[in-house]
Amino acid sequence: MEPVLTAAGLRVGFTTGAGPVTAVDGIDLDLVPGQVHALVGESGSGKTVTGLTLLGLTRGRGVTVEGTARYGGRDLVAASEAELRALRGRDLAMVFQDPMTSLNPMHTVGRQIAETVRVNEGASRSAARARAVAMLDAVGIADPERAANAYPHQFSGGMRQRVMIGIALACRPKVLVADEPTTALDVTVQAQVLALVVELTRSLDTAVLLITHDLGVVARYADRVSVMHRGRILERGRTAAVLAAPQHTYTKALMAAIPRLHGPKRRRLSPQAPVEGPAEGAVVEVSTAVEVSTAQGVGTDDH
């Protein structure tokens, strides 16, 4: 299938007090309608900046964006702010990491969903309100009619993230960037929220860029995966292929870092972990050893 958004050589640099920093260092990405493309990597690898840049949300003083991001015959990197504004909310949407602060505490959730419908589709107040209620229903919030009149502080984190998904998908966008949408949530809610994102975007034929550091999430929900490290993509491919036979040391290290409950004994205890010492200290030693091996893997890639 033809990708709806194609980024090529995307590079984002920031001027900081400590000198220039390149957060994203020339990456390529293809987002295909109805498919989930996972961007995986550790904190600070440039995943979020990539997502924000696709929506033009990193623009400003001290930021340089290079490369191209082709969407619908235009380049999002070169597009004017007005052009991007017209695309945001309607064609390009994003779900942010922290649902606790991403919603305006002063407005009802119904109003916050309705706002994007009114702005992007010029809908009447009542039509936008009806869509808001329908969206709340679609994201699985009980009694949506009543919930529309509630304020964010009256919802739990999981429900707020559902609302945020409702906002993002209210105008049936072509591209959705989901930036660690479940990191701030309770483990039991994470799976539900991710399943919701995948189900809704499949039904809307929306291309999803799922930003995560969780390979378990990648394995379960992503069609394709790009492994990102220090602003670069090290490895990419179909999820099953990459996870079954990672080619890159860093990917292998990331996979080794997944905590396992039922793996074979040898996997749980790294060979580098000292075996002496108190029994309860062993778990800590394992995780430390894993971090060390990650760092070593990285080191060999860079030099």
């Binding site: 695309l87 949407a93 919603l103 305006n104 002063m106 994007t116 992007n120 906002i167």
Partner: protein, 366 residues
């Protein structure tokens, strides 16, 4: 046969405690919900204000009788004692406090020793004048302060921001009487643009109905009153506003900058809103609580500032009355004006708290 006849009393017995519990639950809920709770605090604070004014008035050296008899060298001690009794000043303090409270509620707060008019009627005439002045000043200050604060935040760290912040600091650093005198000299005397004395030319023969000129002009169908009233209001109101606006500029600026960095602003941007819409619908609303609180507190302090401003401009409000009463040791009038200003402050604070509740849904409890 017996079952149906027995049923109603049983039902009644069952519902009676239920109803009591429901009424009790309603009362508890009402008291606990923020709005009634705030309103219930008003009489408590008002009582404390009354008590404090009473105590301060009795702590002041010299009572009204010494004041009244000071110029009369022929008065006998018996006559002094009689006067004390007549004024109720020989009774024990708690009794005097009771009389004073009763007076407040029945509208009898004593007689002005200087003019011989009742304190209530003097206050009735002066109160609308002060309320008008404070409200006008507050509107100007809030409008100027919020707009300049938003501009300063928008042009953060540019010369515009620097200029606004400096003027704001100069504004709230200047004492009221300095601004008042400057305004009077420049705009009243030198430029001769504005009247500097009084509230209304005597020639217009304004007879108050409510005391609020805008309302009276409509009620009495005398629209010619409005322009001279407005001209007289401009200097005292802008004087008061000048010092307050600067403060609000700074509060608005920092509240605005703080709200602007919140993640929901990024959400609004993600929705495709224009920067202007984001500023008005999302940022301003979220910075409203500190701005509203500060601006409300300023309205309270404007009432205090009105005391000085009114006397500079001979504006016939509660402030002028208070200064006159203090100068002439007009005991009951002093007590009455102090109480009025205190109670106004109480009312304003309650109104501000209610407004904050109305703005911020997080503070309302369900």
């Amino acid at each position: 046969m017996s079952a149906p006849t027995q049923a109603p009393p049983q039902a009644a017995a069952a519902t009676e405690p239920g109803r009591v519990a429901a009424v009790w639950a309603f009362l508890v809920r009402t008291v606990r919900s923020p709005v009634p709770r705030r309103l219930l605090a008003v009489p408590v604070v008002a009582f404390v204000v009354m008590l404090l004014v009473f105590i301060v008035a009795h702590l002041l050296p010299g009572d009204p009788v010494t004041q009244m008899t000071a110029t009369n060298s022929q008065i006998t001690p018996e006559q002094v004692a009689q006067l004390r009794r007549e004024l109720g000043l020989s009774a024990p303090l708690p009794v005097q406090f009771g009389d004073y409270l009763k007076g407040i509620f029945t509208g009898n707060m004593g007689t002005s020793l200087y003019s011989g008019r009742s304190v209530t009627s003097l206050l009735g005439a002066a109160l609308p004048v002060t309320v008008e002045l404070a409200l006008a000043a507050w509107l100007i200050a809030t409008l100027v302060g919020v707009v300049t604060g938003m501009i300063a935040a928008h042009y953060k760290d540019t010369w515009v921001d620097g200029l606004l912040r400096t003027s704001a600091t100069v504004g709230f650093s200047l004492p009221w009487f300095v601004v008042a005198l400057l305004g009077a000299i420049v705009f009243g005397v030198e430029l001769n643009w504005l009247p500097i004395l009084g509230r209304m030319p005597n020639s217009l023969n304004y007879q108050p109905t409510t005391g609020f000129v805008l309302i009276d002009a409509v009620v009495q169908n005398r629209y010619e009153l409005i322009w001279p009233w407005f001209q007289h209001l401009v200097l005292p109101a802008t004087t008061l506003a000048a010092t307050t606006a600067g403060y609000l500029t700074r509060v608005t600026r920092s509240a605005f900058l703080d709200a602007r960095t919140q993640p929901f602003v990024r959400t609004a941007r993600m929705k495709g809103l224009t920067e202007r819409a984001i500023a008005v619908k999302h940022v301003l609303r979220n910075s409203a609580v500190p701005i509203l609180t500060m601006s409300g507190l300023q309205l309270g302090s404007l009432l205090g500032g009105a005391v000085i401003t009114e006397s500079v401009f001979s504006y016939p409000g509660v402030g002028s009355l208070l200064v006159q009463a203090a100068e002439r040791r007009d005991y009951f009038l002093l007590q009455g004006t102090a109480l009025t200003i205190g109670l106004l402050f109480t009312a304003v604070n309650a109104a501000v708290d209610l407004a904050v509740l109305a703005v911020d849904p997080r503070l309302r409890r369900d």
